[in-house]
């Protein structure tokens, strides 16, 4: 998995591409409609919720349609223009042989590829199959299981092709989506916070659900971006924005999932399988959460 949108590290190749998008965007805003950067929205294994977040932009959707040429977005429009696309938003994970090929084609057609949502970025809830036996699921669920052509795993896009930016969330936050597009059109490398949900939660003036109610909240190890929706409703965060900071974990770096898991067990008296399930959720296949839940299999 890639580093995600985090640190301010230069990527000259990407800078050139973004500079080109800026140039086109400027020409377009000066009346050269044909120069509008082209947007493609692609779906893989997913629930369509993140694509709906785009449609739910409402007022901003019009502005988006003016700023970009929406060339491929089957969820929204029957117009299907072939690539290449300056910008590709990719929803969903790779669960079939066919999709594993299709994503390579999308990558070839896209100058900047952005994954949208937990499925595309971390494999999604369907990545729970990675710990199970897909064959036996098929036998149980479908009357004619031989029709089902499926891979044994659900994997994030970045395990198949290079991803330029990642938008986390289930679904994504529309403000973050707009922010990334706005930055790209302006020729700026997007940057989104990688800090914990707790900062957003405290800025909102919420009472901590873990400290005051004893709920096993994943907020301290989960990336900000949602605006702390669940704790604002008195609920514990279940990590839908994925792990804080890097998706690869180094020694001594956040997210410190081990300490939180130990507290769930020792302080909040969750039994090991409950601790495991906390981490094995929507982003359970993201490396830090995956490693944590695996560690609790032995307990």
């Amino acid at each position: 998995m890639s580093q995600g949108i985090g640190l301010d590290i230069r990527n000259p190749q990407l800078e050139t591409i973004i500079g080109e998008i800026r140039r086109m965007s400027r020409l377009a805003s000066n009346g050269l409609e044909s120069q509008r950067p082209r947007l493609g929205v692609f779906k893989f294994a997913s629930c369509d919720g993140c694509q709906l977040s785009i449609l739910n932009l409402e007022d901003e959707l019009l502005a988006l349609g003016q700023a970009l040429d929406i060339a491929y977005f089957p969820e929204a429009s029957s117009t299907i223009d072939s690539g290449p696309y300056e910008l590709a938003l990719v929803e969903g994970s790779i669960t079939t042989e066919e999709d594993a090929h299709r994503i390579r084609f999308v990558r070839e057609q896209a100058k900047v590829l952005i994954t949208i949502g937990a499925c595309a970025t971390a494999g999604g809830i369907q990545a729970l199959r990675n710990w199970g036996d897909v064959e036996s699921f098929k036998q149980v669920v479908y009357p004619s299981p031989h029709y089902i052509q499926s891979l044994k795993t659900s994997t994030p896009i970045a395990e198949h092709v290079h991803v330029d930016f990642e938008l986390w969330g289930c679904p994504i936050d529309k403000g973050q989506l707009l922010r990334v597009i706005t930055d790209l059109l302006a020729g700026v490398q997007p940057r989104l916070p990688v800090e914990s949900v707790c900062l957003e939660c405290k800025r909102r003036g919420n009472v901590c659900v873990m400290v005051a109610k004893g709920l096993a909240c994943l907020g301290p190890v989960t990336r900000a971006g949602c605006g702390a929706i669940c704790p604002s409703m008195g609920r514990d965060c279940y990590g839908c924005f994925g792990p804080t900071e890097g998706t690869r974990k180094g020694p001594g770096l956040p997210p410190n999932t081990a300490s939180l898991a130990n507290h769930f067990h020792d302080g909040l008296h969750l039994i090991p399988v409950e601790v495991l399930r906390r981490f094995r959720g929507i982003n359970g296949y993201a490396v830090p959460f995956r490693e944590e839940s695996n560690a609790w299999e032995q307990r």
Binding site: D8, R10, E15, G19, R22, T182, D183, A186, G187, V188, Q189, R191
Partner: protein
């Protein structure tokens, strides 16, 4: 109450390419009154703002005696600076400043001066060098020692050449990975310390560049008898507000945006090179 957060628009009057991904932007504040009242000292910095992107702390390179002209030499290293690099003449940046403590040019008066810089670290001392040369007789001998990685990293080549022609002035350049056109020393900048004659009792040192250069270079100068109190270094940390309020630029007990960026070496020595400070 003055609002130190207010951004003042300024127009790019000139954009000069200095090296790969390094440009000098000559800015002119748009508002006449702001422009007329703007004063700065060599070594101070501005917060330079790009519309819709944000601010970065950049030292002022130009001459403090011509405060209506504000030169900033900027390398594309992050999202703000890379985006600034796309701007052209006539486009607008914003400025807040000037902030911080500049070089102690009055304290240096009457002394021999050794200026040690590395990489882009030469930019924050340009104003100080120009200031001293305009008052040449107030200063003793001047030695300008500058190191770069590759010869392509050498900025202000003409300036170095011109400075070298000043009376009682030596310019020494070093490159660790030069190409065949390099006419100066091959090696690290600290090698050059051995080549200069120093009168430690009347020498003051101004230093700007990577911290590793300071940590390795200062002990050499101190062994040659220059006290830590006669050495000034310009330091870098994450600066977000420029006015000592946002908390990011701390180094030990100092806020480098307001106590620095120029600091007397003995004050910061305990913190330089400490992990995590």
């Amino acid at each position: 109450m003055i609002n130190p957060y207010l951004i003042h628009p300024a127009t790019i009057m000139e954009k000069i390419r200095e090296a790969d991904s390094i440009h000098t932007y000559r800015l002119r504040l748009n508002d006449e009154e702001t422009r007329r009242n703007f004063r700065f000292a060599a070594g101070q910095f501005n917060m330079v703002y790009l519309f819709g992107v944000g601010e970065v702390a950049i030292s002022i390179v130009s001459d403090p005696e011509e405060p209506e002209r504000l030169d900033h030499t900027i390398r594309s290293v992050g999202r703000v600076t890379s985006a600034i690099a796309q701007l052209q003449l006539g486009e607008t940046l914003g400025i807040r400043g000037p902030f911080g403590q500049g070089w102690p040019l009055e304290a240096v008066r009457g002394h021999d001066v050794v200026i040690v810089t590395g990489g882009l670290g030469c930019a924050p001392v340009v104003g100080a060098i120009d200031y001293m040369f305009r008052r040449r007789r107030h200063y003793g001998s001047v030695k300008i020692i500058h190191g770069v990685k590759t010869s392509r990293d050498l900025l202000f080549h003409e300036r170095f050449e011109a400075w070298g022609k000043q009376p009682d002035t030596e310019v020494l350049l070093a490159s660790t990975r030069p190409d065949e056109t390099w006419r100066y020393h091959v090696g690290v900048v600290t090698d050059l310390f051995e080549r200069v004659t120093l009168d430690p009792a009347k020498t003051m040192v101004l230093m700007c560049g990577p911290e590793i250069m300071m940590r390795l270079g200062v002990p050499i100068l101190m062994r040659r008898g220059i006290p830590a109190t006669a050495i000034y270094v310009s330091l870098e940390r994450h600066m977000e507000c420029g006015i000592g309020l946002c908390g990011h630029c701390q180094m030990g007990p100092y806020f480098l945006c307001k106590d620095g960026p120029v600091m007397r070496y003995d004050l910061v020595e305990p913190w330089l090179g400490r992990g995590g400070v």
